[in-house]
Subunit: 471 residues, 2 copies
């Protein structure tokens, strides 16, 4: 805060009191400093989207309202070349019934939600014995046909990590558990939510079924309900545990979704743009404040702040992708439509709203000068340079397809899997100070990239071009 105050004080000293001239704009570093202590662009985006639209399941009318809302937002914030780029997708919706009840030996209701692509149960539900699997590997080892007529329960608990790396361990319970169980004859699957909280709000998310295996009902129990069910297995001492499960999700067939794009046009629009990505859809069960309204708020705020410091050399483009959650439909559609238009570098914000603590690039060895320049510029925000090779967020398929430059601004994921894909992913979970730090770091990094005069991946100088637009 001292830095900003000093900067502002210095500015006022430079402007003669009687000049009647507007003060000179804050430069890029000053814009970043200002974001750190007082940015409200990103918070206002999250508040607006979660309040005025709320949940926005991919392929539904709610997601379409979110696109219209985002277009208005980009207009208000002075973006150019704003467009909705529609695409078609195969749409699943959750229905309005999700009930699980242990019927014996310890009768009680459990809190469940369907996983994306889950089949429906018959009306009235199905009742079957529950078979307990500690891990996906235990489920894989079950003999073929051994689950015939049974409900498979998969525990496979997740631990809390700052870098979110435990998602790689725990995710498969959701991603492939139902498919494996179905292939062994199970009539349904319930998993322990892939999450780290202790609230009775299940974590949904996509599951999948192998070719030739028909979808079965697949649900996630909240963490406390899963723990309760596991205690029942201990206390039942071999007596069968039976569960009645009722859910009515359904498939809508092909419906329209779309990506929203907007630009801060650079002084030399012929240069490949800097692409900032997030996704606009959320699961139906929550307004997706962390996932990923915050990401969209951050990239829009950063692009706006970069522009506030003066029109950048390169165009900065924001991509608010549609239908990320249900299979990266927007990311794939964007790549397919624009694969022949080179992107200078891609960055995505899709891991909540807590502080950035590390950054990785995929050009640390090929363009070390730029990597070091970024490292030097963000160190003051508590961000260190990592040694991983950046792979980019889910909505950056186009950059991966072009084998282009990527930067990952790594957010602190300690809280992320408390909220991920739950009803609890609401505005109040946003820590404003940490959200502002995100915008500060993004502003600094995007501003540097947008003024970069080398090809970002290789460090090769780009031809000096006449500025096509006035600064």
């Amino acid at each position: 805060m001292n830095r900003t105050l000093t900067a502002l004080a210095a500015l006022s000293l430079c402007v003669p009191a009687a000049a009647n001239l507007p003060p000179p704009p804050l430069d890029l570093a000053q814009q970043a400093d200002l974001a750190l202590t007082s940015d409200d662009y990103a918070y206002a985006f999250v508040e607006g989207l979660t309040t005025e639209v709320g949940p926005r399941q991919a392929g539904t009318e709610a997601e379409a309202r979110a696109r219209a809302w985002a277009v208005e937002w980009l207009k208000q914030y002075g973006f150019e070349n704003i467009a909705i780029e529609p695409f078609m997708m195969d749409t699943w919706v959750p229905g309005d019934i999700a009930r699980a009840r242990v019927t014996a030996p310890f009768a009680q209701d459990l809190v469940v939600l369907p996983l994306g692509d889950s089949a429906a149960t018959p009306a009235g539900g199905i009742e079957a014995e529950v078979v307990f699997f500690r891990t996906v590997d235990e489920l894989r080892a079950a003999p073929e046909g051994s689950l015939k007529g049974k409900i498979a329960y998969i525990s496979h608990a997740m631990s809390r990590t700052q870098d979110g790396s435990q998602y790689g361990f725990a995710g498969p319970a959701r991603w492939v558990g139902a498919g494996i169980a179905a292939s062994k004859g199970a009539v349904a699957t319930v998993i322990k939510s892939v999450g780290t909280d202790n609230h009775r709000n299940p974590h949904t998310g996509s599951t999948s079924f192998p070719d030739g295996v028909a979808a079965i009902p697949a649900g996630a129990l909240s963490l406390p309900d899963a723990a309760n069910l596991e205690r029942m297995f201990v206390r039942a001492r071999g007596r069968p545990i039976t569960m009645r499960l009722e859910m009515n999700p359904r498939r809508l067939g092909m419906t329209e979704s779309g990506n929203v794009v907007g630009e801060i046009v650079g002084r030399n629009p012929s240069l490949p743009p800097v692409l900032l990505a997030c996704h606009l859809d959320s699961w139906w069960n929550g307004p997706g404040a962390f996932d990923d309204a915050a990401g969209c708020g951050i990239i829009i705020a950063a692009a706006r702040r970069v522009a506030n410091a003066g029109r950048p050399l390169r165009t900065v483009r924001v991509l608010l992708a549609g239908a990320e959650e249900t299979g990266l439909w927007g990311s794939k559609a964007y790549s397919a439509a624009h694969i022949n238009e080179p992107i200078a570098v891609g960055l995505e914000s899709d891991f909540g709203a807590d502080r950035i603590w590390r950054f990785d690039s995929n050009f640390r060895e090929t363009n070390p000068a730029l990597h070091k320049k970024i490292a030097s510029a963000v160190a003051r925000f508590g961000v260190s340079s990592g040694s991983d090779v950046a792979t980019g967020g889910a909505d950056l398929n186009i950059v991966r397809d072009q084998k282009g430059a990527l930067i990952d601004l790594q957010q602190d994921g300690t809280r992320y899997f408390d909220l991920h894909h739950t009803p609890d992913d609401t505005l109040d979970k946003i820590d404003i100070a940490q959200l502002r730090q995100n915008v500060a770091v993004w502003t600094q990094v995007v501003g540097l990239l947008a003024s970069e005069e080398t090809a970002i991946l290789t460090g090769t100088p780009i031809p000096a071009a006449p500025a096509i637009m006035e600064k």
Copy 2:
């Protein structure tokens, strides 16, 4: 922990290695110390009841299962004179549909649960404009008939306090809000949950309707949903906000509930007993780990530990009351049945499982020696003597009706209204160290009371009676 280890070390020194005699029992203070560091009686009760029975709505078969379970528990822990004392009650059940959706101008679902004694909506729900009231006083000031055809929303937010005193301010939104709204013509009421958390789990609880005012549908929104609705009122700038509400609670008429009692019979059973109370029922939406499985676990553990220190002078009786939540049915029935059997002193545990930080009695001035003796004995557990006059818990109607002695062992309520009456009131919320401190304090206090040779309220010496049973 040092104290206990020292005590145990001292004990072993007293027992000659070759004696082959059982070690002498720990005395009362040692039992309390042991509870502080290693009690699992109370936790085991909470784990067992929440796992094997779960939610236990008053007057339902689930509550009956809880009574049977508790009887078995008391038998296992060596209680005597165990009994179920049945009574009849007018029973309300919540149904299985609770949906709220803002239909305009910002269409989205909100998370709602019915309040106890809520009426049902018509099937398919009702849709109406929502009128915003900041407080119950604002609602009271609304002109008669002004809510005709409308849904009243009452905010009336609660703050977090250690002593729970904000319940007195915030509670009326739930207790009387729906009745006031109905009397002014409202077709339904939704309130901001009376709670302090930020999770999407509404806080239910009883509401009531004045004589001559027909019940209307009355629900509680989760705190994040209520905050969202309030933001909508700001953003709507005068446009009407409409909501569709659907809930299907119903009344079952008179059904059976019951109290469970058990005793540690004293050496002189002719003396009035020490009565320890809790309630066995919970709301249907959660297993009631804090409210009030923990309370029952604490009083049973304390009574057991008092007995472990040797049979006390007075009988210690536990009362696991039925149907507290829906109107103190068990408390009233117990008083009606036993009003002519004097109680020496009553204590209740019904405010969660966090540490006791203060105690109050209603005999500080009439029996100061005893009050000071208790104060001196519990100070080592971090409990100070308060200057309030104890009024006793909800299930101590009999003691109030007898104008008898009361002690309130005040628990830290900082977290209590995060969980109170929510689905989130689950086993994992129990802080074992704090639960043990409760048992330690209760053991110490109940042991002192059960060996007290004065009439507790007045300090008058009781006639020295021959010990009827061996120590």
